[in-house]
Symmetry: C2
C-alpha cells in the first residue's frame, strides 16, 4: 500500500493509517469518521452519498455497530477508502466530506463492554515487584506461565482530553498505625496500548491465538490512571479496585489491526515455553514506539515491542475458560516499560516510588503527578508506505480533588 | 402494608414483595412483569390498558429503562400495583394481565453495566485466609478498615437457570513443579446477595451511605461461580480473573429496596469504628435467610444479617474515589458465611478445600462440584404483612467442560 493519496496525509495520518473515530460538529449528531492528514472523512455523509457501502452504522454515535460487522466488512471498507483517497477522479466527490479536525469535537470512539487490564511487561512487573513486595521473589511464580490480568471499571473509560479529577480514598503509609482518608498523594499514569473487540465469541469456546484478527477491530493508546497509595492499601488479597477505578483514558482514534501489519515483529523469547493454548505461530510483537510527556516534556520512550506477552496470547488466555467476548471489550496491555529508566511507563517506576524524584526539563521535579499536570502518551509505528504512522495521543490534565 | 390481595399471593410472592423481572411468551417480545403468587403481572399490557402510568419502559426487554426513572417513579408504581391488586373493583380489569409463571420464560432482568464483587463476610474472609494464606494473618490488615472488593466480568452475568459449563484453565497444585491445563478440578459456588443501581451518579462525587436508596433499585440472589484451582494459581498479585470470569448467575426477579424495609436489622458491631465516609446512621443489616441446595438437598443456611459490611457502606466505598455509577451496575456482597459449618456459603469452606468431604443426604460425598450437580440458592426475608417474602432462587447446573 504505497500508493499516493491526493489528500494531505501529514502527521502520520496517511492512507496506510486511516483510524476510525466518533466526531461531531456543533449542533450535529455524533457519527463515524476516519482520520486522514489533519482532516476527518465523514463516513456517514459518504455513505449517504453512495460513496461507501451503505451502512447505517456510520450514522451511529459509537463504532460498536461497525465493529460487530466483522473482518470482511472492515477490510472492504478500508480498501474502498484507499481507492477513494488515491484515485483523482473521486476527488471532487470526496472533498466536501473532509472536515478539518479543528472544526470537530472527538468523542469516546466506542462503548466499552468489559475492560480487562494485563500486566505483560516483564520490566514493569519486576520493578513493581521490587517496590511493592520487596520481601517476595521479584516475579510471581505464575508470571511467565500466563499473562496476569484483572478486570477494571468499564464505566470510567474516558476519551482523550477528559479532565482527570484527583481521587480521594483510604491510604496507609507503611509504618503508620491507622489509615487516613484524603486526596491521593501518589497519583500516577500508566502508559499502555489497548485493543478492542469487534466480533463476539461463543459461550464456552475460547479464541485461539490464530483467530485474533477475526475478533479484534483495532488498537488505541491507553492511560490507566492509578492512585498508588489507595492501591497499595486496598489490594490485598483481591487486587486493585479504587486505586484504578476512577479513570482510564483512551485515544480518540482506533487504528485498525490491518494498519499495524507492517509493525509486527518477533516478541521476546518466552522461556519456559508457554502451554499449547498460549502458543502463537505468527509473530505478534508490535513495534510501537511510545512517548510519554508531562506538560509537553518527554519523560519516557517505552517500546511496545519489548512486551513479554503478545495481544493474541492475552486474548486466548482471557477466553480459555469459556468467558464470552462482547463487542466493545477493551483489553489494556499493562504498563509498557523497558529495561532503562528512560523507558519506564509510570511515575512509580520513574521516581522509584518517590524515592528518586524525576527532573523535568523545565527545572521542576516530580515524584508523582501534581494538580495541573498534563500527561500525554503518543506513539508511532512503521507504516506500509515506509514512513511511520501515528497512533493518536491520549492526554489528560489533573484537576484538584472534589470537595467532599 | 398488611392489606389483603384478591390475587393468589402464595410462595412468599405477596403484595409486600412484588419483584420485577423480564418475561416472554412464545412468539412475543420480552417485557417487564411483576411477580404475584404464581403469576406474572404483564406491566407492558397494564400500561397499554391505562392501568399503570404510561411507561414505554415496560415494553422493554430489560429493566434498565425503568430503573433509571428513580425512586419517586419506583415508589409510585409500587403503590399503584398494591392498589390494583387489593381493590376488588380492579379485579376484572387486572386478571386478564396475570399470566401463570409456568407459561412464560424468564430472562436476565437487567443489562449489567459494571459488576463489582465484595468480600464482606468476616467468617468467609477468615476461612479463606486460613485455607489460601496459612502463613499470613487470618484477616488482611485492611479488612476491617474498608470493604475489600474487585471488578468481575459483566459480560458473563447470566440469569438463573443458565447452564454452567465447567471452565478449563491453568492450575498448579502446590508441590507440583509445573502448571497443567485442563478442566477445573475444584469448581465451586458462592452464595451471595447482590444489589443493582438504577440512578447514575455524577463524576467525581461519591454516593454517601445516606443516599443508598436514591440510587439502588433492588436486590437479587447471586452465585459467583468460582474455579478454585484456577483462582489460586492466577491471583498473585492482581486478584482473581479466569477463576471467576466464566459465569455469575443472578435471580430472575429483582426485589425492590422498599420490599426489604421490614428486613432491616442492626449489622454486627464494627470495631475499629470506620472512617467517617463509611459511617451509616441507619441500620442496614438485612435479615435474609439463605439456603443453599445441591441437587435439592439443603447443605447450608447462611444468614445475610451476619455480614460485616452493609450494602450502603459498600456503595459509599466503591464511589468515594469519584468513580461514577451507571444504571445496571451490579454489586455482589461476597460469599455469605456464618460462624458454623452449616452456614458456610461455598464448597471451599464446606469441604475445607476438599480435605473434609461433605456428606449429602443422598449418601454421596462432595469436595467440589461434579458435572450434573445443580446448585440453588434461595432466601426468605421478613415481609411487611408478617409472613416472609421470598427472594427468587438462583440456580444452575454444571455441564461438562467443552472439548477444545
Amino acid at each position: 500500500m504505497t500508493t499516493d493519496s491526493w489528500a494531505d496525509t501529514g502527521g502520520g495520518f496517511g492512507i496506510d493509517n486511516l483510524p476510525y473515530g466518533i466526531f461531531s460538529r456543533p449542533g450535529e449528531l455524533p457519527r463515524v469518521g476516519a482520520a486522514i492528514g489533519g482532516r476527518v472523512l465523514d463516513l456517514a455523509a459518504m455513505s449517504e452519498a453512495g460513496l461507501v457501502e451503505d451502512r447505517r452504522c456510520f450514522a451511529s454515535g459509537s463504532l460498536n455497530a461497525f465493529m460487530v460487522a466483522g473482518r470482511p466488512a472492515w477490510d472492504a471498507n478500508r480498501a474502498r477508502l484507499v481507492e477513494l483517497l488515491t484515485d483523482e477522479t473521486y476527488r471532487d466527490r470526496v472533498e466536501p466530506h473532509l472536515i478539518p479536525v479543528s472544526d470537530v469535537e472527538l468523542r469516546r470512539p466506542f462503548e466499552v463492554a468489559d475492560y480487562v487490564d494485563f500486566y505483560s511487561s516483564e520490566h514493569h512487573a519486576r520493578n513493581t515487584g521490587r517496590i511493592f513486595r520487596p520481601r517476595d521473589e521479584t516475579l510471581p511464580s505464575n508470571w511467565k506461565r500466563l499473562p496476569v490480568a484483572y478486570h477494571g471499571r468499564a464505566g470510567t473509560v474516558f476519551p482523550s482530553g477528559t479532565p482527570i479529577i484527583r481521587p480521594s480514598g483510604q491510604r496507609r503509609t507503611p509504618g503508620e498505625p491507622e489509615p487516613t482518608f484524603g486526596p491521593s498523594l501518589r497519583l500516577d499514569f500508566e502508559a499502555e496500548v489497548g485493543f478492542v473487540v469487534g466480533v463476539p465469541s461463543a459461550a464456552g469456546r475460547g479464541v485461539p491465538t490464530g483467530s485474533f484478527r477475526d475478533h479484534v477491530f483495532g488498537f488505541v493508546l491507553l492511560n490507566d490512571w492509578s492512585a498508588r497509595d489507595l492501591q497499595a492499601w486496598e489490594s490485598r488479597p483481591l487486587g486493585p479496585f479504587l486505586g484504578k477505578s476512577f479513570a482510564t483514558s483512551i485515544s480518540s482514534w482506533v487504528v485498525p489491526v490491518a494498519a499495524l501489519e507492517p509493525a509486527r515483529v518477533s516478541p521476546p523469547v518466552q522461556d519456559p515455553a508457554p502451554l499449547p493454548y498460549l502458543r502463537c505461530d505468527e509473530r505478534w510483537g508490535l513495534d510501537l514506539r511510545l512517548e510519554v510527556l508531562i506538560n509537553d516534556q518527554v519523560v519516557s520512550r517505552p517500546r511496545f515491542a519489548s512486551m513479554y506477552w503478545t495481544s493474541p496470547q492475552q486474548l486466548a488466555h482471557a477466553t480459555v475458560n469459556g468467558a464470552t467476548l462482547r463487542t466493545g471489550d477493551l483489553f489494556g496491555s499493562g504498563t509498557v516499560s523497558g529495561p532503562t529508566r528512560d523507558q519506564r511507563g509510570c511515575m512509580l517506576e520513574l521516581s522509584w516510588d518517590g524515592r528518586e524524584p524525576l527532573d523535568l526539563p523545565d527545572g521542576t521535579k516530580r515524584t508523582f503527578l501534581e494538580d495541573g499536570d498534563t500527561v500525554t502518551v503518543r506513539a508511532q509505528a512503521p507504516g506500509a508506505s515506509g514512513s511511520p504512522i501515528t497512533l493518536s495521543e491520549v492526554t489528560g490534565t489533573i484537576h484538584p480533588a472534589s470537595q467532599p
